[in-house]
Symmetry: C2
Subunit: 357 residues, 2 copies
């Protein structure tokens, strides 16, 4: 990538939302990063420009054949004013894996991290500083060629949007109720489940809506083949503390390789807690629950970081975990992970990347 | 749907492409249909407007979570100048099934057919008349709300684009070579395979590219559970004539319910040919091939109508069907189906819908 990043700053800055009214992904900053791809020419014209609508042909392939992949990470700003990213290299590595799965062109990871740092610096004032708030970062790539042939597009656009987001748990961590889904499936090996592609999410909405109607906040996805093994919870990976040991579904081709998942495993191991990555049958988890050894459960993901699970419903069985309270280990993981993210705890594993001094 | 369709005609008509240079889905007509949806208000403001780029927020959900469904049908213009649609009611029924699967709002099917007829009338001069050419019609619906929350959008846009397309087999029908795919899968029951959603196609491109590299034109998809049973070929349903009987995979939740598939079954039955909808193991098809009773194979879909299969590659076995020639029954199906579509054969089943006299 030889291209020079150009920057055009806006003359009309928007008003920033109050930090207690941020929500998730509804406010967008003044600028965005844009870069174009043309077959034969490669990625070109990286720019930071004022946030503005796209002008795009209605026949653009993204609208028809769903060639669209994305990433999600955050910038954290601490009391000292330092701005940090958390393992951004992992996000751009995964972006390239997702791009490959949809037959889309790879990006230069090192260049993207530099461009992202620049964009975040430009928008520094948009990063909220209240406890638990952050700047959500959404890189994504879409197919732009106007053509109805079912084949990979010859042109693409990569954008990065930024959105200041509120604390996921504004009033302290609150364990969620999850519904184990037996009919709808999210992904299957050989499909696109281990890539962060738009279509995976579209397919998951119906089950989520139905779970909400039943009084549950998230769906627990089972494997597509036997409808038996635990895969993920909503848009999070999932962990269970059973008899002092931590279980998480082994990566199998249909589970997204969460960066928070990987970080959680590394942290737990560094604390001497045994982590077992394996196929987890819902039946076996239920057995552990009945034996009184299912001690804690939580999801992991960029948005909520660590999200305690307080209740699960499976085939009419209701499982209440740790009396619907956040477990001790779950809390410690949350505190440690966010401590590293905000740069207030020692970063032994070198995960935190400073954007500004 | 109480809304009145408004029409704004363009003042700058494009030049029409030569009928021998049409290709598929690369030329678009002068106008398009657009309609908006807002939660609480429903579908509103249906309009026929000049074909023009969309102005759309980069945070629009379609780019991130893939809420996008589409349809594909054609308008046919015969020598007498009559313009016809083929079973358009089935396309809008299926559109509503696809919309429901992605938690998107239903459209009024009867209104949509009327709006489509109007649009096609406006663009009548764009419909080529040469043998095998037609006007491809692409209705689609996309999520437009700018928000990163993983939930159904509250706003949508429905569009219909039109594209004059060339004869699929400009030089007579040519049997295709297909590669039986063992690693990638298209869909799984409980997923979105039986809906016409954008993400299904994105996930299929990689396998298609790899098949091309091996010298095959299309991929034959096997079931995701056992990688054993035949599902579809590329973007077509598939049929096999075995010992005088016709086999086609039974609809199982992961196969798209093709309108050409249904029409083919009805035609064959009306001719007294036995049609068996069942699970077809690739192994059993190979056995039939070795026994010398696999007589013909073909795909069905709106684009090619009937597409003969001349060769299949499965686990290193090469199967040459009917000496790579178009079978007699396959040809008769093509001739009959297109005859009905163009209004030159009797339409006993009431499939053809006149747009103009
Ligand atoms: C389906 C799915 N699983 C898991 C995760 C967690 O991944 P990460 O920890 O990288 O945010 C995400 C993304 O947030 C996701 O979309
Ligand atoms: C995956 C898939 N299967 C089958 C078909 C055939 O459906 P139809 O006959 O309605 O065009 C299509 C659409 O063309 C398709 O996209």
């Amino acid at each position: 990538m030889e291209c020079q990043l150009t920057i055009a700053l806006t003359e009309q800055k928007k008003e920033k939302p109050a930090s207690d009214k941020l929500g998730f992904g509804v406010h967008f900053t003044d600028h965005m990063f844009v870069m174009d791809y043309t077959e034969g020419k490669g990625w070109h014209d990286p720019q930071i420009v004022p946030y503005s609508p796209l002008t795009i042909d209605p026949a653009a392939m993204v609208f028809h054949y769903g060639q669209a992949v994305f990433e999600g990470l955050k910038a954290y700003r601490n009391k000292a004013g330092e701005v940090r990213l958390f393992r951004p290299d992992q996000n751009f590595k995964r972006l390239n894996r997702s791009l490959a799965r949809l037959d889309m062109p790879a990006v230069d990871e090192a260049f993207m991290i530099e461009a992202l740092k620049k964009l975040v610096s430009v928008e520094k004032e948009w990063i909220p500083t209240e406890e638990g708030t952050s700047l959500y970062i959404r890189p994504f790539v879409i197919a732009t060629e106007p053509c109805f042939g079912v084949r990979a597009s010859h042109t693409y656009k990569l954008l990065i949007l930024l959105s200041p987001v509120g604390a996921y748990y504004a009033a302290g961590m609150k364990p969620v109720k999850i519904y184990v889904e037996n009919s709808y499936v999210r992904a299957v090996r050989g499909g696109t489940g281990n890539a962060k592609v738009a279509g995976n999410y579209a397919g998951s909405l119906k089950a989520q809506t139905e779970a909400h109607e039943k009084g549950y906040e998230q769906v627990l996805w089972l494997d597509a083949i036997e409808t038996k093994y635990i895969e993920e919870v909503g848009s999070m990976n999932v962990f269970f503390k059973v008899n002092g040991e931590v279980w998480t579904p082994v990566l199998n081709g249909s589970i997204l390789e969460g960066i928070t998942r990987d970080s959680t495993i590394q942290l737990l191991k560094s604390w001497g807690i045994p982590v077992v990555e394996k196929r987890i049958a819902m039946e076996d988890l239920f057995q552990a629950y009945n034996d009184g050894v299912l001690e804690e459960a939580f999801g992991t993901g960029t948005a909520a970081v660590i999200s305690p699970v307080g209740e699960m419903s499976w085939n009419g069985h209701k499982m209440v975990i740790n009396q619907s309270q956040t477990g001790e280990m779950t809390q410690k993981l949350y505190d440690t992970m966010t401590g590293i993210q905000y740069g207030v705890l020692e970063d032994k594993l070198g995960w935190s990347v400073k954007v500004t001094e």
